[in-house]
C-alpha cells in the first residue's frame, strides 16, 4: 500500500480545521436569521394595513431601559467568557450571573408591556393585523431569549458545581454566539417595531 490510505500515521502538522461547535452555531444562526427575516418582512408588509385599531402609534411605548438591559448583557457575557478563558472563576461567575439577571429583566419588561397592551389597551393577537404581527415577532424573539436564558442557567448550575473551567471555554463561547445573535436580533426588532413602525 502506498501513502494514500496506508495505516501509516502521518503527523498532521499544520492540518487544522475549524471548531465544529462554532460552525454548527453559525449555521443555526443563519437558519434562525432566515426565520426572523420572514417575520420581519411580514411585519413591515402589514404596517398600516390593519382594518381596525389600535395602531402602533397609539399603544406602543419605547422600552428603552429594558433594551439597554438586553444589549448590555452581551457585554457582560463577552467579558464572562474572557474571564473563564483566563481562569478567573470568581469574575466569570459574577458576570455570568449578571448576564442572566439582565436577560431576565428584559423578559420582565416584555411581560409588563404585554400585560399593559392586553388589559389596558385591548390589543391581543387576534385584534387586528398589527396585533398578529407584533405578538408573533416580539414573541418569537422573546422565545429565543427564554431558550438562551435556560441554557445560560444550565451553565451557571454546572459552574457552581465546579464543572466549568477554562477547558470548556470553547463550548461556552458557542453558547455566547447564540446570545449575541439574540441581542442582535433585538436591534432589528426594536428598529422595525419601535422606530420605523411607529
Amino acid at each position: 500500500m502506498s501513502t494514500a490510505t496506508s495505516p501509516v500515521v502521518q503527523p498532521a502538522a499544520g492540518w487544522t480545521l475549524p471548531y465544529r461547535g462554532k460552525v454548527a452555531m453559525a449555521c443555526l444562526i443563519f437558519a434562525e436569521s432566515a426565520i426572523f427575516t420572514i417575520f420581519v418582512v411580514a411585519y413591515l408588509f402589514y404596517l398600516g394595513k390593519s382594518l381596525t385599531g389600535p395602531t402602533p402609534r397609539e399603544v406602543l411605548e419605547v422600552p428603552i431601559f429594558y433594551s439597554v438591559c438586553l444589549l448590555s448583557s452581551s457585554l457582560t457575557l463577552h467579558f464572562a467568557t474572557k474571564f473563564l478563558h483566563g481562569g478567573k472563576r470568581g469574575a466569570f461567575l459574577g458576570l455570568w450571573f449578571l448576564t442572566i439577571v439582565l436577560g431576565a429583566l428584559f423578559l420582565f419588561g416584555t411581560a409588563q408591556e404585554w400585560h399593559r397592551l392586553i388589559y389596558e389597551r385591548g390589543l391581543t393577537i387576534s385584534t387586528n393585523l398589527f396585533g398578529t404581527t407584533y405578538y408573533a415577532l416580539v414573541g418569537l424573539h422573546g422565545f429565543h431569549v427564554i431558550v438562551g436564558l435556560l441554557m445560560l442557567m444550565i451553565v451557571l448550575l454546572f459552574a457552581f458545581l465546579g464543572r466549568v473551567g477554562p477547558e470548556q471555554s470553547a463550548r461556552v463561547e458557542v453558547l455566547s454566539m447564540y446570545w449575541h445573535f439574540v441581542d442582535a436580533v433585538w436591534v432589528v426588532v426594536f428598529t422595525v417595531v419601535y422606530v420605523l413602525g411607529r
Partner: protein
C-alpha cells in the same frame, strides 16, 4: 485486515436475538446505520407515494371516470406531492449524505452523531404525523381526513372556514417537525464537511459529492427556515385567531405564496444538487476519466445556489405582479440555465473520449443527462412570463416538474442505488434485473411524461378531478396512465432486486467499480469505525494514487 473485520461482525450478529439488534438500530448514532434508516424510510414512502400516483392516474384514464370520489382525489394529489418531496426525496438524499459524506472525506462519523439520530427521528415523526391524519384529521365534524389543500396549501384554503377539522394542522405540523429534522441534518453535514476532513483533504481536493452536499446543506438552511416561519404563522392563524393570511382582516393570500415559494423553488435545487453530485461521481468512474472541469463544476454549483434563491416568483406569474417583477424573475430564471448548462457540458466533456462502460449506474446517469436537459428546456419555456401566462396551472407544468424530479432526480438516485449498494451491503445488485429495470422505467417514464405535455398545451388544468370527452385529451391521458403502470412494474423489479441481491447477490469486495474515492478503500460494508487509521490524501483521487504509484494525480496538482 478488512476481511477480518467482516467475519467478526458476522459472528457477532449471528447468535443474537432480533430484539437486541432492533434495539441497536433504534438507538444507533452511527452515520452508516442512520443513512440506511433514512433510505429504507424513504423507500417505504416511495411505495406509498407511488400508489397515490397510480390512483390519480387511474382516475384520469378516461373521461367521467369515478374510480375515487373528488374528495379522495384532492387528498391523493396533496399527499402524493407532500410525500414525494418531504418524505421520499429529502430523506433518501439525507440518507446518502449520511452514509457517504464521512466516508468520502475520510472521517469516522458525522460531526454530531446524536444530533444526527435526533434529526432522523424528527423526520420519521413528521412522516408519521402526516399519515396519521387519515385517522386523526377528522376533528369532531367528520370534516375530511387527510389534507386536501394541494402541496403548496394556498391561503385561504387552509383557513378554519375552508379547512375545518385537523387535516391542515397535520400537514403543517408534519412539515414543521420534519423541517427541524432537515435543518439539523443540514447543520450536521456542513459541520462534518468543514471540520472533519482527513489530513490533506483540502477543499480543492474534496470529491464533488462532498462539495455539492455542502452547497445543498447550505440551501436547506436558507430554504427550509422560511417554510418553518410560514408554518408558524399559519398555526397562529388557525389556533390563536391571527390574521396573517386572513383576507377578511386585511391579510394577504399573496404573502403566503411568496413565503411558500421562497422555500419552494430553492427546494427544487436542494433536491437536484445531490443528483448532480451522484452524476459527478458515477460518470467519471464509468467513463474511466477524471471529472472534466472540477473547479468550474464547483463554481457553477455555487452559482446555482445563489441565483436559485432569487427566482421563486416565477411560480407566481399569473397572480398579477407588475412588469418589473415579472421581468426580474424571468431573467433570473433564464440565468439559472447558464451554470446548469455548464454542468451538463462538463459531464459530456467527461464522457467524451472516455472508455465508457454502460453498466446499470451509467445507464441511469446517461438517462439523467438527456432527460434533465429536456426538463431544463421546458423550464426555460415556462420561465418566459408571457408563455407562462398561457400554460401556468396546466398539465404542461405537471409534465415539466415531473421531468425534473423523475427524469432527472429519480434517475440519478437509481444510479446511486446501483453504484453504492455494493458498498452498503457487500453484494452487487443483479445486473440483468438492473438493465430490465432501466429500460422498463425509461419506457414508462417517457410514455407518461412526454405525452403529458400535450394535454397541458391543449388546456387540461392540473388537479382536475375528471374531464369532458371530445377535447382531445383522452388518448394522451390513457397513454400516460399506461406509462405509470409500466413505471410501477419497473419499480417493483427494482425493489425485488434490492431484496434478492441482499442475500443472493455476487460478493462485491472493497472496490467493484475500480473507483477512486475513499469509500472504496474500506471493506464492504465498512466497519463501524470506517477507517482503522485516518487516511492522508494528496490528490482528488486518492485511490488512483494508491493503485498507480508510478503516475499519481498528486504529481499534477
Amino acid at each position: 485486515m478488512s476481511s477480518d473485520v467482516m467475519t467478526i461482525q458476522k459472528a457477532r450478529t449471528a447468535d443474537r436475538p432480533w430484539v437486541e439488534s432492533l434495539h441497536e438500530w433504534v438507538t444507533t448514532v452511527d452515520h452508516k446505520r442512520l443513512g440506511i434508516l433514512y433510505i429504507l424510510y424513504a423507500l417505504v414512502f416511495l411505495v406509498i407515494g407511488g400508489i397515490e400516483a397510480i390512483i390519480i392516474r387511474v382516475q384520469l384514464t378516461r373521461p367521467h371516470l369515478d374510480f375515487v370520489s373528488p374528495q379522495v382525489f384532492n387528498r391523493m394529489f396533496t399527499m402524493h406531492g407532500t410525500t414525494m418531496i418531504f418524505f421520499v426525496v429529502m430523506p433518501v438524499l439525507f440518507g446518502f449524505a449520511n452514509y457517504l459524506v464521512p466516508l468520502v472525506i475520510g472521517a469516522r462519523d458525522m460531526a454530531f452523531p446524536r444530533l444526527n439520530a435526533f434529526s432522523f427521528w424528527l423526520t420519521a415523526l413528521g412522516g408519521f404525523l402526516l399519515y396519521f391524519s387519515f385517522l386523526g384529521g377528522n376533528g369532531l365534524y367528520g370534516a375530511g381526513s387527510a389534507p386536501d389543500v394541494g402541496w403548496w396549501a394556498y391561503a385561504p384554503l387552509t383557513s378554519r372556514a375552508f379547512s375545518p377539522g385537523h387535516s391542515s394542522d397535520y400537514w403543517t405540523i408534519a412539515l414543521m417537525v420534519s423541517g427541524f429534522g432537515s435543518i439539523g441534518t443540514a447543520i450536521n453535514i456542513i459541520a462534518t464537511i468543514l471540520c472533519m476532513r482527513c489530513p490533506g483533504m483540502k477543499l480543492s481536493r474534496m470529491p464533488l459529492l462532498a462539495w455539492l452536499y455542502l452547497i445543498m446543506a447550505g440551501m436547506v438552511i436558507l430554504a427550509i427556515s422560511p417554510l418553518t416561519a410560514a408554518q408558524i404563522m399559519l398555526s397562529i392563524d388557525r389556533y390563536l385567531g391571527g390574521h396573517f393570511f386572513d383576507t377578511q382582516a386585511g391579510g394577504s393570500a399573496t404573502l403566503w405564496m411568496h413565503f411558500f415559494w421562497i422555500f419552494g423553488h430553492p427546494e427544487v435545487y436542494v433536491l437536484v444538487i445531490p443528483a448532480f453530485a451522484f452524476a459527478s461521481e458515477i460518470i467519471p468512474v464509468f467513463s474511466r476519466k477524471p471529472i472534466f472541469g472540477y473547479p468550474v463544476m464547483v463554481g457553477a454549483t455555487v452559482c446555482i445556489g445563489f441565483v436559485s434563491m432569487s427566482v421563486w416568483a416565477h411560480h407566481m406569474f399569473t397572480i398579477g405582479m407588475n412588469s418589473y417583477a415579472n421581468s426580474f424573475f424571468a431573467i433570473t430564471t433564464m440565468a439559472v440555465g447558464v451554470p446548469t448548462g455548464i454542468k451538463i457540458f462538463n459531464w459530456l466533456g467527461t464522457m467524451w473520449g472516455g472508455k465508457i462502460q454502460f453498466k446499470t449506474p451509467m445507464l441511469f446517469c446517461t438517462g439523467f443527462l438527456f432527460q434533465f436537459l429536456i426538463a431544463g428546456l421546458t423550464g426555460i419555456m415556462l420561465g418566459a412570463a408571457p408563455f407562462n401566462w398561457q400554460l401556468s396551472g396546466s398539465y404542461f407544468v405537471v409534465a415539466h416538474f415531473h421531468y425534473v424530479i423523475v427524469g432527472g432526480i429519480l434517475f440519478a438516485l437509481f444510479a446511486a442505488f446501483y453504484y453504492w449498494y455494493p458498498k452498503i451491503t457487500g453484494r452487487m445488485l443483479n445486473e440483468s434485473l438492473g438493465k430490465l429495470h432501466f429500460w422498463l422505467f425509461l419506457i414508462g417514464f417517457h410514455l407518461t411524461f412526454d405525452v403529458m405535455h400535450i394535454p397541458g398545451i391543449l388546456g387540461m388544468p392540473r388537479r382536475i378531478y375528471t374531464y369532458e370527452p371530445g377535447r382531445g385529451w383522452e388518448l394522451w391521458n390513457l397513454i400516460a396512465t399506461i406509462g405509470a403502470f409500466v413505471q410501477g412494474i419497473a419499480t417493483v423489479i427494482f425493489v425485488m432486486n434490492l431484496i434478492v441481491s441482499y442475500w443472493k447477490g455476487q460478493k462485491a469486495g472493497n472496490d467493484p467499480w475500480d473507483a477512486w474515492t475513499l469509500e472504496w478503500s474500506v471493506s464492504s460494508p465498512p466497519p463501524a469505525y470506517n477507517f482503522a487509521s485516518i487516511p492522508t490524501v494528496a490528490s482528488r483521487r486518492p485511490l488512483w494514487d494508491q493503485k498507480h504509484p508510478e503516475d499519481p494525480d498528486s504529481r499534477y496538482e
